[in-house]
Symmetry: C2
Subunit: 472 residues, 2 copies
């Protein structure tokens, strides 16, 4: 045995003994008992009751533990429902949205309110909200990156026309609906224009990401129908988020002058992003080396853009979206960033957003038959505006009926984009919990019906033409 | 021109007119004025004063805008100081830590307190703290992943012996120091054992990540010295974080029995992670397909591990670290995860942690000559314990003097690991702001001196042996 191997236990032993000795001595020193310094965060007070288990319970109730537990539960339930949704041939996101509603007052809170209040006490939601906000910002950034504006430009006319028609028709229907429901359903002290514009925008959203996933899952990528639908949805998203920015600006402003100035600032902001930041970024991205610096640069643009959008008054998420749109196509920067952000935001942070939406959705508020009639009208307006509006326009610009109807069915997908808009409206105080619940249900139903509608259209045409199914 | 191109402006125009008409009609509807529903988050009240600029200012002061602004400022300053540090051949992290102190009360707060209070008002720090906590958890997870336990086991004896000696000697010195400073510097109502154990652990930390970076930057990777130093630091980290878990358990517990049970639970937890979760994870990772599922699985283990550690009472960060250590080596899962997490956490979230540390560090508290003498003693104890302790042990186990001294210099690097430990102590209320400031300065000084010390050792030996520098 080497000499050093004998030395080892000796050294450790001697010093351990010395440490023990000093601690034993020090324990006899009097404890200082003057008033505690105010700048120190005091150690958490002992839990009421004694014993180890109450101590563990106490640790389990601190905000950090609770947050971790919430995330664990959210991820498990979201995963489970996402899996179930895929089993019935729905996109996983439909299951995840349902998971959120299941954990909220509409189901868990109804059958076992103690559990819901223990897992999601009202005071604990701030951190979750914060996380979901970050997740949405990343998500909108990714959505922005996935839009390829040059493609929209190429395909321009037909797609843009379908897209704009598929926004303005449901927007008009939404505004009309607002006219008849304002007296009964608008919150107090909200003026008509805010309520109407929000109802309009709520009707005219298309979920670009969910639509893209459905197109992909059905093997339509690259087909004329798939390309047309995706291009329409992209044009839709850009237009709808532009309108949303205007609506938020109007709602947040204190008067007409201030709204006009906000919108002008927003326009200056968008132009600056496109015509100053975009070329500059393209040059910088070519100049700098190392993916780390590129990622840092992209994040920086994202942060600044989000900040400016928020200060101007057109919402962080719009800034994140624009930052994504202006990211350079080349040099794989987009795939690099998507790679870094997508998993974290889609796997972890979006389910948190769904659950927060679910916690706000009180389906129990629709406890009168009368309200379900209103919900039916909302559904009718939503589907006829978006589905029929897009399908008719597609037919008018020359698509055959089958393609036109399929485009209508795809554009009718509200998905999580709608939820983002609804939450913004809710937070601005424009939607009451009742209207919010109805619109969430509408978003869910329209997303859910996309797959079956497409199947139905295919089935009908397959039968009529007595040919094989050519769209599956 | 196609017929549809004429239809387009027609459709848009008609519907735009219709929307305008309905809004004009609706504006005449009476605004509902009953009491607002309590469940609605009210829209932000208008800013005092009027005009657009006060409105923009108002938007800029909402918590979200402020948070974005804080992050933007933190990243800019951190980047600048990191760049300056690299210019004087220091690792960037030294500059980033200095950036934190510069933005805190020690410098910005001294010369321009209004700016510091405007950018970092006390009430706004919660979200930053939360982000930095997430960043640290990811970071500890990555540090854990980078440790290759099998390598430590192979090299076992010498490295482990140097490592343990380099912990227990400074630990002993730290405890001794606590004995003499307890009366003057311990916070009220903190018993001696907590204070002493924390001083001990504060003296015996080595910054594995900073050390690894220095070894890499000096081209020592793969050399006997580099390998030995990294293996020692890895063994150091595992041991020190184990001791820290015990110390936190003791400090948080209400009595001896409860401390013993907490430590037993911690042992059960660690054993379960190594001998149950680790093999299970290895099997699952081979079984599942697609990197997304693998990432989700790894996150899930990270979350559960952090949660259990927090509930047991041994800190989230310990759980994150252990989760990293048990990640399977194979199948590139580690590099996949590091890829996803490292940039976000290292580039964005760690600078936030440094600034929070800087905001807590009030160097101005050391306003008496007497306190600087105490700081001198702390520095002496820290350096002699870690540098001399490691160097002597390395010499005893048979390293030549030059290598032994170099290992001592490397192990003396406290880096950001020390800051993590100090913040835990501060949050537990064991370190007063005075002691905290002194220990932060100590961590900074010992990290800063590593490079020059290595140069000095090389220079001396190069002169003495009249041979070329063989370690540069």
């Amino acid at each position: 045995m080497k000499k050093s191997h004998l030395l080892y236990p000796l050294i450790i032993g001697i010093f351990a003994a010395l440490i023990w000795f000093i601690i034993a001595q020090g324990e006899r020193l009097p404890v200082r008992e003057h008033a505690p310094l105010t700048t120190i965060t005091p150690a958490a007070p002992a839990a009421p009751g004694s014993g180890v288990f109450s101590e563990l319970l106490h640790h389990a109730q601190n905000p950090l533990s609770l947050l971790l537990l919430q995330i664990i539960i959210i991820l498990c339930v979201a995963r489970l429902f996402g899996y179930l949704a895929q089993k019935i041939k729905q996109p996983a996101v439909v299951g995840e949205i349902v998971a959120g509603i299941v954990l909220g007052p509409s189901l868990l809170g109804l059958v076992w309110p103690e559990a819901m209040n223990a897992i999601f006490p009202k005071t604990s939601l701030t951190n979750l909200q914060f996380l979901s906000q970050i997740g949405l910002a990343f998500f909108m950034f990714i959505v922005g990156m996935e839009l390829d504006i040059s493609k929209v430009r190429q395909k321009a006319h037909d797609a843009v026309m379908i897209s704009h028609a598929s926004i303005i028709i449901p927007f008009f229907l939404g505004v009309s609906l607002a006219y008849f429901t304002y007296q009964e359903f608008a919150p107090a002290n909200v003026n008509f224009i805010s309520f109407a514009l929000f109802m309009g925008i709520a009707m005219s959203i298309t979920a670009f990401p969910v639509l893209a996933r459905i197109v992909q899952e059905r093997g339509l990528t690259g087909t004329p129908l798939g390309t047309m639908a995706i291009t329409c949805a992209a044009a839709d998203d850009i237009t709808a988020w532009g309108i949303l920015a205007v609506v938020v600006a109007i709602v947040k402003s204190t008067g007409i002058l201030s709204a006009v100035i906000t919108i002008s600032l927003a326009l200056v902001f968008v132009f600056a992003m496109f015509f100053l930041v975009r070329p500059w970024l393209q040059k910088r991205m070519t100049a700098v080396q190392g993916s780390k610096t590129k990622v840092a640069l992209a994040f920086f643009v994202l942060l600044i853009s989000g900040y400016l959008a928020e200060v101007i008054g057109i919402h962080l998420l719009f800034g994140a979206f624009i930052a994504g749109v202006i990211m350079p196509q080349e040099m794989n920067i987009k795939s690099l960033l998507t790679d870094k952000l997508e998993d974290v935001s889609v796997l972890i942070l979006l389910p948190i957003f769904f659950v927060l939406t679910g916690l706000r959705t009180q389906i129990g508020l629709l406890n009168e038959g009368h309200l379900w009639v209103v919900f039916g009208v909302i559904m009718l307006v939503a589907v006829s505006g978006k589905f029929a509006g897009s399908a008719l326009t597609a037919r008018i610009v020359g698509q055959p009926w089958q393609e036109a109807l399929s485009i209508g069915a795809l554009m009718n997908t509200r998905g999580l984009m709608e939820l983002v808009v609804l939450n913004i409206g809710y937070e601005l105080g424009i939607l009451t919990p009742q209207v919010f619940a109805m619109l969430v249900l509408m978003a869910l139903a329209t997303t859910f019906m996309t797959g079956p509608l497409l199947d139905l259209i295919n089935y009908c045409y397959a039968r009529r033409h007595k040919v094989g199914i050519n769209m599956n």
